[in-house]
Structure formats: C-alpha cells, structure tokens
Symmetry: C14
Subunit: 96 residues, 14 copies
C-alpha cells in the first residue's frame, strides 16, 4: 500500500513540475510575440506608447492567466487535492 | 484493489496536470498571435485603439474559453468525476 | 475483474484529459490566426470593423465547434458512455 | 475473457478520445488559415464581404466535414461498432 | 484464442480511430491553405469569384478524396474486412 | 499458431490504417499548396483560368497517384497479399 | 519456427505499408511545391504555359520516381523477396 | 519502503531539473523575440529608446515571471513540499 | 538458430523498407524545392527555359543519386549482402 | 538500499546534465535572436550603437538569468540538495 | 554465441540502412536549397549560367561528399568492418 | 554494488556527452543567427564594421557562456562531482 | 562474456552508422544554405564570382570539418578505439 | 562485473558517437546561416569582401569552438576519462 501511495506522490510531483514548465514554455513564446509587436510599435509610433502598453498589458495578463491555471493545478496537486488527502491518510494509517 | 485504485488516481493527476499545461501551451501561442496583431494595429492607427481592443478581447475570450474547457475537465478529474467517487468508495470500503 | 475495470477508468480519464487538451492546443492556434487577421484588419480599416467582427465570429465559432466535439467526446467518456455503464455495473456487482 | 474485453473497451475510448482531438487540432489550424484570409479580405475590400463570407463558409464546411468524419468514427467506436456488440455480448454472457 | 481475437479487434479500432484522425489533420491543413488563397483572391478580385470558387471546389474535392480513402479503409477495418470475418468466426465458434 | 497468425492480421490492419492516413496527410498538404497557388492565380489572372486549372489538375493527379500507391498497398495488405493467403490457410487448417 | 516466420511476414507488411506511406508523404509535399510554382507561373505568364507544364512534368516525374522506388521495394517485400521465398518454404515445410 | 521513498526523491529531482530547463527554453525564446524587436526599434528610432526599454522591461518581467513560477515549483519540489516531508519522515523512521 | 536468422531477415526488410522511404521523403522535398524555382524561372523568363531546364536536370540528378544510394543499400540488404548469404547458409544448413 | 541510493544519484546527474543543456539550447537561440537584431541595428544606425548595445545587454542578461536558474538547480542537484544529504547519509550508514 | 553474432549483423544492417537514408534526407534538402537558388539565378541572369552552374556544382559536390561519408560507413558496416570479420569468424567457427 | 556503481558512471558519461551536444546544438544556431546579421551588416555598411564586430563579439560571448555552463556541468560530472567521489570510493572499497 | 562483447560491437556500429548520418543531415542543410546564397550572389553579380566562390569554399570547408569530426569519431569507433582493442582481446581470449 | 564494465564502454561509445553528431548537426546549420549572409554580402558589396570574410571567420570559429567542446568531451569519453581508467582496471583485474 505504501509503495502505491508513493507512486501517487511521484505522479503528482511529475505532473506539477512538468505541467508548469510546459505551460510556461508556450505562454513565454506567446508573450514574446506580443511583446515583440508592442516594442516595434513603440519604436514606430512613440506618441502612442501609452495605448500600446495598455493593450500589451491586457494581452499579457490574459496569457499570464493561462499559465496561472496550470500553476493552480500544479499547486493543487502538491498541496491540496482531495486525492492526496485520501492517500496521505492511507499512508499515515498504514504507518501505524 | 487499493493498488489499482491508486493507479486510477495517478492517471487522474497526470491527465489533469499535463492536460491543462498542453492547453495553456497552445492557447498561449494563439493569444500571443492575436495580441501581436492588436499591438501592431494600435501602433499603426492609435485612433482605432478602442475598436481594436474590443476585437482583441472578443478573440482572446474565445481562446481563453478553449483553455477553460481543459481546466474544467482537469478539475472534474481531480474533484468531481463520478468514476473518482466510485473508486474512492471502493478504496475507503477496502480500508475497513 | 476490478483491476481491469479500473484500467478502463484510467483509459477514460487519460483520453478525456489529454484529448480536450490537444484539441484546445490546435484550435487555440487556429483562433489565434483568425484573431490576428481580424485585429490587423480593424486597425487598417476601422470603418469595416463591424463586418470584420462578424466574419471573425463566424470563423471562431466554427473552430470552437471543433473543440466542442472533443469536449463532448471527453464528457461522454467521463460521464455517459455505454461502456462505462457496463463496466461500472460489473465493478459494483463484483463489490458485493 | 473479461479482462481482454475490457482491453478492447480501453482501445475504443483511447482511439475515440485522441482521434477526435487530433482531427480537431489539424482542422482547427486549417480553419484558422481560412478565417485569417477571409478577415483580411473583408478588411481590405468590405464591399465584397458577402462573397468572401460565402467562400469562407464553403471552405470551412469542407474542413468541418473532415473533422466530422473523425467524430463519426469516434462515436461508432463508442456506441455502435459491430465489434463492440460482439465483445459486450461475450462480456455479459461471461457475467452469468 | 479469444484473447488474440480481441487483440485483433483492438488493432482494428486503433487503426481506424487514429487513421482517420491523422488523415483529417493533414487534409484539414491542406484545405485550409487552399481556402486561404481563395478567400484572398475573392477579396482582391470579386468579379472572378465564380471562377475562383470553382477552382477551389475542384481542389477541395481532390483533398477531400484523400481523406475519404482513409475513411474507407477505417470503415472497412471496422465493418467489412475479410480478416475480421475470419476472426469473428473463430471467436463465435470458440464461444460454443 | 493461431495466436501468431492473428498477430500477422494485426500488423496488416495497423499498416493499412496508418499507412493510408500518413500518405493522405502528406499528399493533402501537397495538394493544398498546389491549390493555393492555383486559386491565387485565377484571382490575379481570370482569363487564364482554363490553363491554370489544367495545370493544377495535372499536378493534383500526380499527387493523388502517390496516395493511391499507398491505398493500393493498404488494400493488398487487407485483401490480397500472398502472405495473407498463406496465413489464412494455416489458420483455417489449424481450426480443424 | 512458424511463429518466427510469421514475425518475418509481419515485418514485411509493416515495412511495406509504412514505407510507401512515408515516401508518399514527402514526395507529395515536394510535388506540391513544384505544382505551386507552376500554377503561379501559368497565372503570371499564360503564354509560357506550355514550357512551364513541360518543366513541371519533368520535375514531377523525377519526384514520382523516388516514390516508385519505395513502391518497388514495398512490392518486393510483399511479393518477391528471396527471403520471403526461403521463409515460406520453411513455413510450408514445417506444416507437413 | 526505502526503495519507494528514493523513487519519490528521484521523481522530485527529475521534475525539478527538467521542469526549470523546459521553462527556461520557452521563456528564453520568448524574451529573445521581445529583445529582437526592442533592439531593432532602438536602432530605428533612438530618441524613443527610453520608452522602448520600459516597454521591453515590462514584457521581459512578465515572461520572467512565467519562468519563476516553474522555478518556484522546482524549489518546492526539492526543499519544501509537504509530500517530501512525509516521505522523509517515513524514510528516517524506517532507518531506525 | 533459425529464430535468430529470421530476426536478421526482419531487420533487413525493415531497414530496406523504411530506409528507402526516408530517403525518398527528404529527396522528394529537395527536388520539389528545385522544381519550384525552375518552374518560377521558366514563367519569368521563358527564353531561358533551355538553360533553366538543364540546370534543373543536373541538380535533380544529383539529388536523385542520393536516393539511389539508399536504394542500392536497400537492395543489397534484400538480395546480396554477404551477411545474408552467411545467414541463409546457416538457416538452410540448420534445416537438414 | 545502496542500489536505490545510486539510482537517486543517477537521476540527479541526468537531470543536471540534460537540464542545463536544454536550458542552454533555448536561451542560446533566444540570445541569438536578440543579437541578430542588435547587429543589424548597429549596421543600419552606427550612431545609436551605444543605446543599442545597452538595450541588448539588458535583454541578454534577462535571458542569461533564465539559464542561470537552470544552472543553479543543476548545481543544487549535484552539490547541495537536502535529499542528496539524506541519501548520502543512508548510503554511508549502510556501508558500515 | 550464434544468436549474439546475428544480433551484431542485425545492428549492422539497421545502421547501414537507416544511416544512409537519414544522410540522404538531409543532403537532399540541402542540395534542393542550392538547386533552387541556382535555377532562380539562371532565370534571372541567363548570361551567367555558366558561372552559376559551376558554383552550384562545387556546392552540390561538397554536399554529395557528406552523403558519401555516410555511404562509405554503411558499406564498411556491411562488407568490411574488422568487427564483422571477427564476428563472422566466431560464427563460422561455432558452426563446426 | 559494483554493478550499480557502474550504472552511475554510465549515467554520468551519457549526461555529459549528450548534454554538451544539445547545448552546442542550440548555441550553434543562436550564434549563427547573430553571425548572419553581423555579416549582412558589414556588407551593407563597411565603415561600421568595428562597432558591428564588437557588438557581435559581446553577443557571441554571452551565448558561448551558456554553452560553457553546460560544459562545466559535463566536466564536473566526469571529473569532480562529490557523488562520483562517493561512488568511486564504494567501488574501490568493494573491490577489496 | 562473448555476448557482452558483441553488444559492445553493436553499440559501436550503431553509434558510427547513425552518428555520421545525423552529422551529414545537419551539415548538408547548412552547406545548402551557404550554397544557396552563393548561387544567388553569382547570379546577381557575376563579376564577383571569384570572391563569392572563395568565401563559399571557406565556409563549406568549415562546415565540412564539423562532419569530418563525426566521421573521425565513427571511424575510431569502428577501427581504433582502445576500448575495442580491450574488448576484442577479451573476446579472442575467451574463444580459447 | 565484466558485463557491467562493457555496458559502461557501450555508454561511452554511444555518447561519443551521437554527441559529436548532434553537435555537428546544430553547428553545421549555424555556420550555414553565417555563411549564407557572408556570401550574400560579398555578392552585394565585393569591395568589402575582406572585412566580411574576417567577420565570418570570427563567427565561424566561435561556432566551431562549440562543436569542439563536444568533440573534446567525446574524445575524453573514449580515451581518457578517469572513470574509464577505473573500469578498465576492474575489467583487466577481473580477467585474471
């Protein structure tokens, strides 16, 4: 039973560690595309830099939210999933 | 029985953690493409920034919804799938 | 028998979690391409923003429908496939 | 026999869940390409928006049909393949 | 014997489900490329929209045919391959 | 012997189902490239639409032929390979 | 011995089915590139359509030949390789 | 028990080491895209270099934050996850 | 001994079938690039079509030669490698 | 116990060696993109070379920091993780 | 001993068959890039076709040489490696 | 014990050999991008070649440093990691 | 012992055959890029063909050297590595 | 013990052979990018060919150095790693 419970923990840390990494990979490239356009825009039209920055920030925040979804799932997997509670209970109980 | 039930939990957390990550990857790039065009557009034509931002927000929301589908499925897998209820019941029952 | 039934559940949650994620990945990029063009178009020709937005929404809805097919299949796999009913029956029956 | 029959069910749900996802991935990108061109076209030439939208809809429908083929195959695999009927018969028969 | 026969069924549904999905992926992108050019063309030259649509439809039909080859093979694998008949015969015969 | 013969059948259906799908993937993209150019050409120069369509059809037919090679091989694998005949003979003979 | 001989047959059909598919994939894209240029060329310069078509046909035939090499190897593997003859001999001999 | 606990540690270091690497990969490319646009912009319009640098820094910080999420998860996995505490307790306890 | 010898035959047909396919894939794309440029060139400058065709043919022949190297190796593996001779000798000898 | 402890060491060196390599891969390409733009900028506008170099250095330092995160994690895994200390203690203790 | 020796032969033919194929893939694309430029050049500047062809031939020969290195290694592996000689000796000796 | 220690050595050399290779791959492409821009810049504006070369060298050195991190980790893994010392000690001690 | 020694030989031929192939793949594409630019350059500016050819040859030689490194390592692995000598000695010695 | 030592040798030759190949792949493409720009530059501005060649050579040397790092590591793995010395000593000692 303990061996299986530890395998569950292994799955949790693997999913958390790689999940947030994969999400950061994609969102990083996405934000890079947005930033690229914004920086080019400011260079071409510095008077509009306020509007451009606001637009960029809205977009970056939307993309950031995608990555935060993955972060939230990762943190739930590490700290607070009901399954983990069940499994930890079994593991502690089995330790007696 | 418990070992198998834990394997089911493992599959749930793996699918949840990687699923939301893969969806965030793709949607992040998609939103980045949209943001890129919007930021370029605001730089080129600052007077139209209101219309551009509205268009961008509609599109970003559509893409966000795709990622939220994956998030919903991930959360169902962690918290509320009927299978999980069945399996937890078996696991708890087996613990007696 | 129970072990096999749980393996079936594992396959269901894996297919559901990854399936919706892969579909969201591709459709997110597809919607991003459409949004990109629409945002550029509004910036270039703000008077046509109504027509552009309508065109974009038609297209985004079509792409959204592709992702919803995958969502429907994922939800069927979790909640309502006839196979699941059969297997749950076997599992519950085996629990007696 | 039951174990093998469940493996068949597993293969069905895996093929259905991933199959529709992969098809949605590709068709989503394809529709995105079409939508991109249509949105650009409407922005450049708003008077032709009717013709452009019709052309786009024909194309999107063709692409949609590809995805629906995959959806049909996925639904056949879940609900109505003759193999499934055979296997379910074996499984039910074995349950007596 | 039955176990092997079910493995054959598993191979059939896997090949059918993934095969049509992979074909739809590629053909969807291909049709998207064609649709993109046609929509751009109609926007640039609305008078030629009839000729462009005809050309597009010929091409889309050719690409559709590729996907239909894969669909036909998938349906043959599910419903009508001579191998399946042989194997089902063996399976039914073994059930007596 | 029967188990091995069924493995041979499995290999046949796998190769047939995936083979035609992979070929359709590549040829679909190839035909899409050709169609794209033809549709652009008709839009730019509608008077030459006859010649363009003829050129396109020649090219599409050449690409179609590549996919048909794969289809022929797939159908041979399912219906008419000498190996299959040999193996079916062994399988039927072993059933006596 | 028979089991091994069938594994050899399995390798033959796998190599044949996937080999022709992979070759068709690449050559399909290659022919698509050539066709694209030819169709564009005819649209730009319809008077030279004869010369362009000839050039295209030479190139397509060269690419076709590459795919036919793979087809020939695939057909040899299915129908006429000396190894197959040897193995079939062993298989038939072992059946006595 | 110890062997399983060490496998958990192995999963932690693997997820931490590869996770931060994958995140750094994607965010590095994303920041490179942003930096590229900023450097081009400064070269084209040196007077706006202040505004461009500010825009770039906001964007780079947003992308940096994505990578830091992954770093935080990696450090939690190595130093401070509650699972690790549980497992270390088991391991130390088992050592007595 | 015979089982091992058949595994050697399996490796030969696998290497031959996939080898020629991979080579055809790459060379097909390479020839497609060359053909694309040649067809564009003839369209732009029909008077030079002779020289362009000669240049194209030299290049296509060079690329063809690469694929033929792979074909030669594949045919050697099927028909004429010294290893095959050795192994066939062992196999026939073992059959006595 | 020792065998498992060595497996933990193996995981550490693998994660460290590949982790820093993957991070260097991505950050190298990212820095290359930035450097490319800066070098082009200096060539186009040599008077602004000071500002361009400063911008480039800020960006390169940000990207460098991403890679250094991975380096830090790699060095922690090799030299200073608390898990390693625990495992080494077990290994040394087991050696008595 | 013979089984192992045959495994060595298997490795040789696999490495030879796939090695030459992978090399042909890459070099084919490389030669295609060169040919593309040369054909475009001849079309643009037919008077320089001699010089262009010479330049192209030098480059194609250099790329050809890369593929020939792989061919040489493949032929050495099939016909003339000292290891093969050793292993064949062992194999023949073991046959006595 | 020795077998496990050698597996640790195997992991070290694998991580070192592939790690430096992967890092060199990415950094090579990154430096190539930078070099490309610098060479173009010198050709366009030879008077600024000094400044361009300095900028290029700064950037190449930054990218070089990324690869050197990986080299340092690789050399540590081969020559000087504390784990290696521990394991070698065990191995030598076990040899007595 | 002999079986293991043959596995070492297998690793050598695999690494040699695939190593040179992978290196030829990359260097072939790299040389193709260089050749492409050189051929375009000669077409645009035939008077400078001498200088262009010299530059191209220097670059091609540098790329060739990279591939030759891999060739040298491959030949060392086949003909002259000290490990091979050791292993052959063991193999021959074990044959007595 | 000998079997394990040979596995270590196998890992060394695999890492050496593939490592140098992967590094050559990436650096070859990187050098190709640099060479491409230099050749284009010489064609556009033959008077600056000296400066361009110098710049190119500096860059190519930097990229070459990356590949040489991998070569050095590969040669260390084959000829001179302290681990190899240890393992060879064990192997020779075990032969007594």
């Amino acid at each position: 039973m303990e061996a299986e419970a530890l395998k569950f923990f292994i799955a949790c840390v693997t999913a958390a560690g790689f999940g947030i990494a994969i999400a950061a990979f994609g969102c990083g490239i996405g934000q890079g595309l947005g930033l690229k356009a914004a920086a080019e825009g400011v260079a071409r039209n510095p008077e509009a830099s306020g509007k451009i920055t606001v637009t960029m920030l809205i977009g970056l925040a939307m993309i950031e939210s995608l990555c935060i979804y993955a972060l939230v799932v990762a943190l739930i997997l590490i700290f607070a999933s009901p399954m983990t509670a069940t499994v930890t209970g079994l593991l502690t109980g089995a330790g007696h």
